[in-house]
Structures are given as C-alpha cells and as structure tokens.
Amino acid sequence: MSSAKHLLPAPVVFPGDEPFWQAAAQGRLLLKHCPACDRSHFYPRAHCPLCGHPDTHWREASGRGKVYSYTLMGRAARPTAPAIVELEEGPRLSTVVVDADVHALAIDDPVTLRFLPTEQGLQALAFTTPAADHARRYTQAALSELGQAPSGRAQAMQEAAVIGAGNMGTGIAQAFLSAGLRVLLIDSSATSLAAGLERIEQALHKDLERGRLDASAHAARRALLRTSTSLADVANADVIVEAVFEDMTLKQQLFAAIDAVAAPHALLATNTSTLDVGAIAAATSRPGSVLGLHFFNPAHVMRLIEVVRAPHTSPEAILLAQALAQRLGKVAVVVGICDGFVGNRLMIRREREAARLLLEGAWPQHIDRVLRAFGLPMGTFELQDMAGGIALTYHARKRSGQSDWLIEQLFERGRTGLRAGKGYYRYEAGKRTPIVDPEVSDLIEQASRAAGIERRHIDDAEIRDRLILPMVNEGAKLIEEGIVERASDIDLVWQFGYGWPDWKGGPMYHADRLGIASVVERLNALRDAHGERFEPASLLVRLAQTQHGLTPALP
C-alpha cells in the first residue's frame, strides 16, 4: 500500500519550464538544444548557457544513459542510488537510480528513465536499470497469466462469515469490509469476540482519523459488521472463512457443524497454513465447495491469497475463490496441498539454513545485511522477530518432538521478538530498529559449542547462495510435484506475500538470471560441502541440460 508520506515534495515550476513537466507526465525527458552551437543542456534555460545564444528549443532525449558515478542511500522508501548519469546526448546530470538492484550498480552501467510521483502530481526525473525494467515486465506478464475469473457470482456475494476473532480472523474480516461485503464475525468466546471487535473498530477509526475514510464511508463500513457467538448464524453467508487455532480435530468439528447450517451455494474456506485442507473438507458432506484461502498477516494489507485446492475441490469453487480474491483486490495464486503450501515451504527452507549458518559462524545481523543487500525488504531474523517466529518455531518443535537448543534458550528467556522488546535482536521501547544484543551473540556461541561446531568466517556469497538457492530448489520441487502450475506463480507468492521486490522478479526469475546450469553447479558444490539437503531438484538438472529456463522468455 503506497502512502502519501513516500511521495517526493512537489517541484517548483518556474515560468518557461512547463513543457519539461508536461513531457515528464508522459514519461519523456526534454533537454534544451541550442540552434547556434548545436549543443544540448540540462536543466532548461531560455538562453544557451554554453554560447550565450538568446533562444533555445526543446528536444526530446533518448532517456538512455550510463552511470558516471553513484553512491547508495541507506534508509529510503525505495532502493535509491544518488547518481550522476551521462545521457547518450552528452550532458551529465545529478539524479537518482531507483527501484533497481542498486547494491549491484557499477560505473558505466546502462540506465533508463523512470519518473517518480511527487506530492502535487508532477513527475520527478529519476532513472532505473534495464534489468529492473525487465523484471517488472515479467511481473506484469506473470500477473496476467493468473487470468480473470468470471466475476458474476463473486460480485453477487453479500455476506461473509469469519470464524475466529484472533489476529487473522479480524484481518480477514477487514478485508471483506473494505470490499463492501457484510461481515459476521463469530467466536465461541465472548471475550475474544469483544477484543476482536475492538481491534477492528480501532483500525476503522484510524482510517477515519488519517482521512482514508470519510465519516459516511466509515459509518457505512461499521454498519456492515456484526458479531455472534453462535455458529448457526452462518446460514446467510455466501462465503465462510475459518480462522481458528491450528488444530485438525477442532477444524473438522467446526466444518461438520458449518456443513449442517451453511447455505447450499456457500463457499467454505479454511485459513489454515499448515493443515491438510483435504482432511478438513472430508468432515463435510460437500468437499467440492471446500478449499483453503490462505491470507497473509496482516490480512487486510497483504495482497497475497494462496487458494488451496484440495483433491475434491470443484473447478467452480476455485474460480469463485479467484473471483472473490479479485473483488478483495488481492492476488490469488492457486496451489495444491503440501506442508507450508508455496510461500512457507520456501521460507522454511531459508530459515532452517539460516539457523544452520548461525551455528557455523554467521551472526543474525550479518545474515540480515546480506539478504537486504540482495534486495529483500528485511532479513530473515528481523522478520522472525517481527512475526513472532521464535515462539512459532518453539511450539512447532515441541509438537514434533525435536529439540533446538538456541530456540529453547531464546524462548525461555522471553526473547520472543519485537513485541517482547527482544528476540534475535533487542529493541528500544516503541522503536523497530534491531539492535545487536551481546546476550544473543553469547547464546549463539554456546549453541555452536553445544553442537560441537567450530565457528568460522562465512563470506557474503556463501550466505547468499545457501539462503537463496534452496528456495529455488524447493520451488522447482513444487513445480515437479504439481503444487503450482507455473514457476511465475511462486514468484508472485514471494512478491505479494513476502515482499520480494518486483524489480527482482522472484526466486525463480532470479534463478533464470543466474542461469539454471550455474544454479545446479552451485547446488552440487553445496551438496558436496554441506550435505544432501542441497541435492538439486531433477527439474533443474533437466533444464540445465536443455538450456531452458524456469520462466518464459519475454517478447
């Protein structure tokens, strides 16, 4: 969600400059050209500053150039490299290269135009790289591959029931409210229900305060929301989304109960992120109408929905879910059933490898810096601190009977993440900036000793390969297993659910840029050094021999 605070200040339009700004609005760059000395200059003047001739003419520039020099801006809303760009036409100008892999920028790299919106609508001159433009075109193509589901039935939906008034449930309820559906929020606990309702009301109030909603829209949206503690009230709902605790018995009981009262045409969805949707559907008499709608937290903000297809889900139900997602303004990627579906399955591979790297000698801040330099909005440990990953891993390990010394130590010391003020990092009250904490460094060193691992220096390239290539490999396996239809679907999941930047395409697109043969070669080397978990997927091995990529070439 873009917000006004990221907009650049409005530039002053001096008399005579108007044509420059009109061209900029169309994505074109105008220079001033002197008929007397036949030279162009930037920025515009009525006279020629090179020879003094009193009259100059506008001339459109190619917009292509190369980097003469550059630097990097640390904290910026978008990747930004202040730069001096030399245009093909000759002039060098002070500008910025944005929305591109600025950490990989080099002098003489080609750049191309990219205008940035400003506060009063004018477009400010900036540049980007052709590689970033290519990735954005790929993203657009990938989105259009998703297709448009027929929207009639989804548009006719009037009421959604959301079961479970926790974080996910209230987020999902807000997503429906934003699309103008009536929402019935249900929770068996009146206390939870009251807390959930308050959260939604606070969010709506904030929208009102910040001007995102006017008073009448706010009132209308609030009027769409009702609550209940009785499951019987779902009878009028066109779509029912379950978002309760991840417990198969509980969910099966719920779906059996929903089945008994829901309207015959209703779409029955579970928001589970870990359980078998087929087994949940089997608790009903209508498995054709049951599927997963896996929203991402916060559900009213994150644009991704994984639509999980169970073995008996009907094609009509899938189409309806896709159309509904479109109505909610979401990107719906259809996935099959597997542990973690698409997004989390790749994430789990990365997190496990990151944990392994900690034991071998890397530090959280080092790993996170490498991931940020790679282009991701956040490192894996910052992300875990923000999302409460330590507690999730702790409980998951407890359930599966595995032990993880470091996770246990962190959890037992109350280091559960940002909300607790400490996790892999520590945080000052009210701030979100991760600060390295010697206590964690000590724990990591102890964990290495406990595991009998002698810590060593690990360079950036090894960290990058060991975190990114397993994601690629896991993605290839998802394609082999038929969990996703297209490699680009995996990339969309990572863009819209995990913040992989559009200028970098996604993990599968990235693999194609590296070259599949190179990916296989590196995975083979990692397997030889670190074990079978790096064994390349057979799809990758096959593609490496055929010179084909995972993603289609763009026209």
Binding site: L8, P9, L50, P82, I84, P91, R92, S94
Partner: protein
C-alpha cells in the same frame, strides 16, 4: 593588482564552544570579533572594513555592524560561497586594503546549527528560488552523497582505496588528541575508520566531518599597522579564488576549482608547493583533502590517495602536516563551514603558536585552502599563502 605583502593577519580568535545552546548567533559573532581584536591589540574603533557571510544575522553585514558596534566602517563585503567564504574574504580584504578602501579589516564567522537543529542547511541561503532544484527533486540534499560520488569516481579513475581515504582521518585524529576543544580527541586506527558504519558508499561515518556550533574571526591590517603591533607578524603572500559549476551538464568530478585558485595564489606568492611546510585543507570529507592536494599541486592528479597514506599528513611523521587542530574531521566545523577554522590553524602554525606536539619546526610558509558549496556541484575555492615574518 598583486596582493603580495599588501596585508598582514594581526589577530585571530576561535570560539571554544561546540554546542551553543545558551548563545545566540549574534552573540557568537560579537564574541569572536572582540576576541580577534584583543589578540591583535586593536579595538572596535580601529575597524574600518567588515567582512561576513550569510551566517551573519540580518541584512548584508549592517545588522552585525550595529550589533557588534562597528562605527567607523568605510567598507563592507558579504561574499557568500559556503565554507570557503572566509578565504575569499581574506583575499577581498587584502584587495580593499591595497586599494585604500580600509586599513583594518575584520572577518567574522559564527553559527549554531546544532542548537538550532537545522542540519546541514547553510544559514541565510534561500534554496526556494534556485532554478536547478526542481530538476533534481528526487536527489537527497545531504552533502555526503555528492562527495561520495566524487570518491567513487576517484576510485574508478585512479585506483584510490577506502584505506587511503581512512589515512586522512587517522592523521586528523593524531592531531586532535592535543586539542582540548576538539569534539573527537581519541586517536583512531585505519581499521576503526573502515569498520565505522557506511553512510554513503564508499564513505564511512569517520570519513565525514563533525557538525558543530561556534565560529571564529580574523583581523587583517595594512603593513604599517602590523609593524606597530606586538604579535608575531603573518604576511599574506598570495591569494586565489575560483569557481566551478556543473556547466549545464559538463560535470567532471575529478578536479575542483582549487586547480585555479591554487595556481593563482602560488604565482602571486612566488613560491611552489614544495616550499610549503604546513597546509590547512578543507576536510568536509576525507576525499575533499585528497582532491585538493592534487589540485594545489602537492602531488600529481590521481596520486592523492597514495600521497596521504602511511601518515604523510601527520605532524612529526609525514612530509606535509595538515590540519593540526584536528580539522573539521575531529575538531569542529562551525555552521557546516570550515573555511574560517582553516585560516585560524594556519595562522597559529605560521606564528609558531600551534600546540607544541603538532607545531611544525619550519613554519616560514603555510597555506590555507577551502572549498565551499559541493565538490560534486557548484563550488568556490579559496587559497591563501602566508609567510612568517
């Protein structure tokens, strides 16, 4: 008109404050004015020429003339060129004295950006009507980005390294340990500079100067007056000024206006870079020092990185001691304008009155040089060469 020996520096004063929460900018100007006059053995009534930049509150020097109590002014000059302005003021004051416009010229500089929380903005400079700014509205205005691009290009063309940049800071820190007023007095190692956070790649935090409040003043007088005063005499041998700008898109980051201001000053002084025993160089960033050394002729273009390595700028260690007060990197950088403090330490060295631990043995010839504005954009360079008499 040659300025050779036409004027003498008779008095200097550096304000000890580094954060002026309880002093106004006008008070700072007055205190440095009185300090420099006292140092010279002169009074307010002796001053008939006044020079200040846009940091002086009010209208073109008039407000400060009244506030300080300058009642016999015959000449005023408010040239503003950023940090180098005070080097230009020295040159202009010498011209005015030589032309008979005044006898005793006072230059004041003072500002309080820390106390006023005004960041790197230069006081008194209105950017709202600058015609180029709308076309670079996406470019962050902080100076460090421009200088980082100068450093990057220097590395690209000449093979300059981060370690060589770091040597400039290391040298400055060696000097600052003896300055009780310096913001940073601890000696730093190459490794500490290189390990400091990257603020604008390839510049680390320790490649950047400090931000402080404060100021300073200089009194320049006609030779006949200098001879009557009791302080060690510092003769202005030569001065040069030059400007450089992006020239409608003909940007070249590898050289600065110092090429021209330096050549003019050396020619007027009748000496060469090899004769100079101490230099005050503008040190907004470590790269600034390297580019200026090349442009002034202390080494060939592109050799600046190698020139500063291995402690060559450290007093008592290297061949060309610089900024023995700790400079902008370690001591102070009042008002984000380092030109005045460059003059002050050059005068101390020339008088033989620098801290004994950093005083150069042969202080017959010293040079002060400043670059105001941005090395990556429009800037003005000012060079002065001083001789101990």
């Amino acid at each position: 008109m040659s300025l050779h020996a036409k004027a003498y520096i008779a008095g200097i004063y550096e304000h000890p404050v580094r954060r002026a929460d309880t002093l106004s900018t006008a008070q700072l100007h007055a205190q440095v004015a009185l300090g420099a006059l006292q140092d010279a053995g002169l009074t307010l009534d002796d001053v008939d020429g006044y020079f200040c930049g846009a940091d002086a509150p009010g209208l073109g020097g008039l407000t400060m003339a009244e506030y300080i109590g300058l009642n016999r002014l015959r000449h005023v000059d408010t040239t503003e060129s950023g940090g180098s302005a005070y080097l230009l003021h020295l040159s202009h004051a010498a011209q005015a004295i030589a032309a008979g416009h005044c006898n005793v010229a006072l230059v004041t500089m003072a500002d309080r950006p820390l106390a006023a929380a005004s960041g790197t903005r230069l006081a008194g400079v209105d950017r709202s009507t600058m015609p180029n700014l709308p076309f670079q509205v996406a470019v962050p205005p902080m100076p460090m980005y421009g200088y980082a691009m100068v450093a990057r290009r220097h590395m690209h063309e000449f093979g300059t390294t981060s370690e060589q940049l770091a040597w400039v800071r290391v040298a400055a820190s060696h000097h600052a340990q003896y300055n009780p007023h310096a913001v940073h007095r601890q000696v730093v190692s190459l490794q500490e500079v290189l390990a400091s956070p990257m603020v604008a790649d390839p510049l680390h935090r320790l490649d950047c100067c400090v931000m402080t409040d404060g100021g300073g003043a200089v009194v320049l007088v006609r030779p006949e007056i200098a001879k009557r005063l009791s302080r060690p005499r510092v003769k202005l041998l030569g001065a040069g000024e030059a400007i450089k700008h992006p020239d409608a898109g003909r940007i070249d980051l590898t050289w600065s206006a110092g090429v021209h201001s330096g050549a003019k000053a050396f020619a007027e002084a009748g000496v060469t870079p090899q004769d100079i025993r101490y230099v005050s160089l503008y040190d907004s960033f470590t790269i600034t020092v390297i580019v200026q050394l090349e442009d002034l002729g202390f080494c060939a273009k592109g050799e600046g990185g190698r020139f500063v390595a291995d402690g060559n700028l450290i007093s008592g260690v290297g061949k060309l001691p610089f900024n023995t007060d700790g400079g902008g990197l370690c001591n102070n950088h009042p008002g984000n304008k380092g030109g005045m403090t460059k003059i002050l330490e050059a005068v101390r060295q020339c008088r033989g009155e620098a801290h004994p631990a950093v005083q150069v043995a042969d202080h017959s010839l010293v040079l002060a040089h400043g670059t105001g504005g941005s090395l990556a954009g429009a800037h003005a360079a000012g060079t002065v060469i001083l001789e101990a008499e």
